[in-house]
Subunit: 342 residues, 4 copies
């Protein structure tokens, strides 16, 4: 099969390798679409993310969907030909986090695409069937691959405890921000406000379903939000930019007693208006990936309640993955989500 | 002004009475539309509900919207001409339930329309402005009056903790059931199943947004649900029928670890499959009216996310209120929600 | 080793069998103490509980503690000689309940002592190390075995969300009721009331830490509670009797907005005052065993915050297990918790 | 009556003023004991806290208990001679925060002792009876006055959702830290760790009930905690120092999926290790005073479950209030909590 190997930072090479063997308790999936994520770019550009270092030829890619082409003989619940979405992290299911239902916090997770675990910018991938989800024909491979960022947003909206009729602010209009717009709308937010400094992203945010798209560079975001909400501010704020200003402004834009959800990874140390947390009894939740979120996301895609396609800007075949990476890397290309197809 | 007085069980009389005086900390509202609720029928038919007994001429009606025609001189936030929805219960705001944010559990609530507190089947009504909500022009008086049953459903969905992508079962397709269908859909249920023995009500339920409408008289509801959900059963069950079978089946149709919400008032003693609560660790929440639900409901109506008009079947002017009550009382009339207009 | 086999209802036979082999991912435990549970008596008396039927010679017993005598070569975290408490249920860790952190709801749980899974009225037992907990020397084997019922109570108090300073009512003073008294006290209940018709059990309840012990046969429990609480009733009610009256009275003794936890298994159908659930917005939680509760219970035992020994009434060596069962079965014996030692 | 007036920063003057008149819906309390709080010192030293500025002679003091000496004629539930604890903040009970049960977030709260509302360093004080709590003879006036900081801790432990058997870390051993130690112990923490740089405060922390008292100046607090907890870190961290290091270390000392509660007010902008919030899915709650916490705290004091007296270091009569303030202000005096008595 063909697979795209990162040899070292900046060097990606498409190679032919042996077809993987499907162990008896696994499924083998013919990958059809894979999204390019910011972390893929980070590995490509830097050769590492924190302690995860690319030391040998490494396949990136963890947002994927495909077709089951082989079913291990002890695997139940799958047939050849099943169209599926893949949850990339496979936890140990033995530690106390796994037993408590927070398997995303498992220290021994095998996360597809994060070294040393090979990813899915390739044609065939072996996966644990507990973390593979069948999709109906009405859900596209694109949507099924983007169940990954949508699951991050599902985790965020779930942790926020968003109740129908509340006002949501989403800071940052990238794929996670778009996912949060969709999910806040689905959860019944009566108003979704977006903050994003890049004009064309604000336009997309409105198409995705935001009611207002604000430019934080044009003034004070808290003041803009105060005006839009008659001084009431927002019930829930989803920080998806990871910027210093976004992280601080999130705390300034939330209502007394409201909830802030931090999703975007920022710098190691960030300054925050700490006394706001106290005076207004803010609840803050940090989000790390997703946990038990794929199934409801796929049910929402199946019910036609989520779109995702609208924020896909580019598609490249696997043969042209270097181009896909270059476009995703280049601000001038105005890429939103770039998909790779096999 | 004109007002409809219940003289005794079965005898309603429209009379001309003095215009109410607006105290300085109140607002006076010209009532435009009022819904006929099951409890109004109960008072009309029996002259009482439990300890609430009609002993002197009594005005019923507690689902109302109208226009502010006088603003007490110490009242802030309202102007003459404001279109408004009225939350009928005015609690003491001093007891521990009120202080804990559960003012619906206040033992000293003044509930509009429940004896001895006069209701709103009349032209003018004085109300506490803390429980009056301005509505935009895009929200009809019908919708604003039906914010009352919709708030019951908002309370129910909020207490259930319904998360986007979950499956909801609603037992009973009357106005509260319809409200629950709308609210479960708004909260992101990927699938809404309804159980209702009356055929034309099942048809309306589908129009309101249910995905499936089952007839519990045609077999075993738990079996029907098991088949529809591939054995998984429902994450949340909303019991809005108050029937013995509905109350018991609610516990049989919910998923392990799922939530049952009891809304429909049934008989004093009801038999339930108690061991199901244990074996499947069901969480059950009882719902009594609403608390802090009117504002989000009106925001959802303003955002066009709720409809309510679709389950209004009849409209009568206040002059013909006896006809309105008769229609609402007569199963052959196939009434859903009957509105009275002034 | 010696093991006590239930041959058929009423017939228990102590036999010598081969020493179990310890698989490489397991631990072999020399069982030191085992509690006799109501379900053991049920199996002994009836030969079955629901669908769990004793068809071949069966070892009962699931409340146990002991010493590790062999460690599988792939097992980590244990050494020979470790004193341990055993959580009897071993779930699949693959189904959605397991992944959601509710492994007690797993349909494929291997529950030690429930047919077809052999129990621990024997000298040696092989167990999955993920569900074995080391205990310090300060915790007795009795306490470590009774971590099982204490974990049920921990689950109950956790689900109730008991907050320091609240009033708790515990219905039924058997081992689960005693466990709930201890746990409610540990969780900061400012007042623990017990309802129990048997006088000597009420006496023990007071020794275990209850502030009041009421006799429900002497009058109306709700009236007694109303008087004790100045009409406020209880914040949390723990039903551990499984009796029809207890199940109904639980709903009558709880405060508006309060929480009822059902722990005691009763008859298939039970009559409840349903309208109380609505009018007072009661939240009810069903409890099934325990989930992630053993570790905190053992930490509480280690910290000297729980006792358990106080409600142990009898101890018998394994050789005299028939006597142990007989005593536990005989109301005249005034047994509380009967322990079997090896 | 005598009252201590702050004339300007640093100048306190004891004066004789007219006895207050008791309005018909109020109670008049003869104040017996009042605690000196850090905020009192702040007003004394700076003449202001933020927007709250002392512009005219002002009585400080908001931690108080006393005896009812007059009952307004419309006031119910109190008699002359009642011993009482006073909750200092009286909210509007009309805004949406009050209606939602978060009256501590009310923008129109009348907070006793915060300008322009006169405080309780005086002999007689008029208070709203909804925020006055009767205490039994077994609770001392000192304890009843310190129900105020204990209520802050109750709010913190409640928001943290501390479950019996968890490990708690408390950063900062002042009166709020001591209150948190007591409350975490009462809520069933199996282990309470304290971090405090001042040696004599660490000694008191151990007496109050902490299991370990660490010096954060002696090394890395996260490392100390890691060692004490076998790498597991703490389930709940209560930050009561307001220091930059404490605020940041709180996030480093909490377990994956754990909860951090911020109580201590720090600088306007504080640097935090933001990515920890995400990677470990930390939940952070800000605490502002208390809400519905006084009653359970008084019930806990009545039950003998809280002490508070142990961390009172000095007592002065009202005549010597300048001395009381001086001692509380002077680190060399080693004051913990200073009480003023009338």
């Amino acid at each position: 099969m063909k697979a795209a190997f990162l040899k070292k930072a900046g060097l990606l090479s498409l190679e032919e390798v042996a077809r993987p063997v499907c162990p008896e308790d696994m499924v083998l999936v013919n990958v059809k679409e894979i999204g390019v994520c910011g972390s893929d770019l980070h590995y490509f550009n830097e050769g590492r993310i924190g302690d995860h270092i690319v030391t040998s030829p490494h396949i990136l890619g963890h947002e994927a969907a495909g077709i089951v082409v082989e079913v291990g003989k002890r695997t139940r619940g799958f047939s050849i030909g099943d169209r599926v979405s893949i949850e990339p992290g496979v936890p140990c299911m033995a530690c106390e986090h796994c037993r408590e239902g927070h398997y995303n916090l498992c220290a021994d997770v095998h996360f597809t695409g994060a070294p040393p675990y090979q990813g899915m910018f390739c044609e065939l991938h072996v996966h644990d069937p507990r973390f593979v989800y069948r999709i109906p024909d009405s859900v596209s491979f694109t949507q099924a691959a983007l169940a990954e960022p949508l699951s991050v947003a599902h985790n965020a909206v779930r942790r926020a405890g968003l109740v129908p009729g509340e006002t949501a602010l989403i800071i940052g209009a990238g794929p996670i921000g778009f996912s949060c717009i969709e999910m806040a709308r689905v959860a019944g937010a009566s108003r979704v406000i977006v903050s994003e400094p890049v004009a064309f992203r604000r336009d997309v945010a409105l198409k995705v379903g935001a009611n207002h798209a604000l430019d934080p560079a044009a003034g004070s975001l808290p003041d803009f939000v105060r005006e839009l909400t008659d001084g009431r501010m927002c019930d829930c704020v989803f920080e998806a930019s990871g910027s210093d200003l976004g992280i601080a402004d999130a705390l300034r834009c939330v209502r007394r007693g409201g909830r802030v959800v931090y999703i975007g990874m920022g710098k190691e140390m960030v300054g925050i208006p700490h006394s706001d947390i106290l005076k207004r009894e803010i609840t803050i939740s940090g989000i790390y990936r997703y946990v038990n979120d794929f199934r409801p996301v796929i049910d929402l895609l199946s019910a036609g309640k989520l779109d995702a396609e609208i924020w896909v800007s580019h598609r490249f075949p696997l043969d042209r993955i270097c181009e896909a990476i270059a476009v995703a890397n280049d601000p001038a290309a105005k890429a939103l989500k770039v998909m790779v197809t096999t």
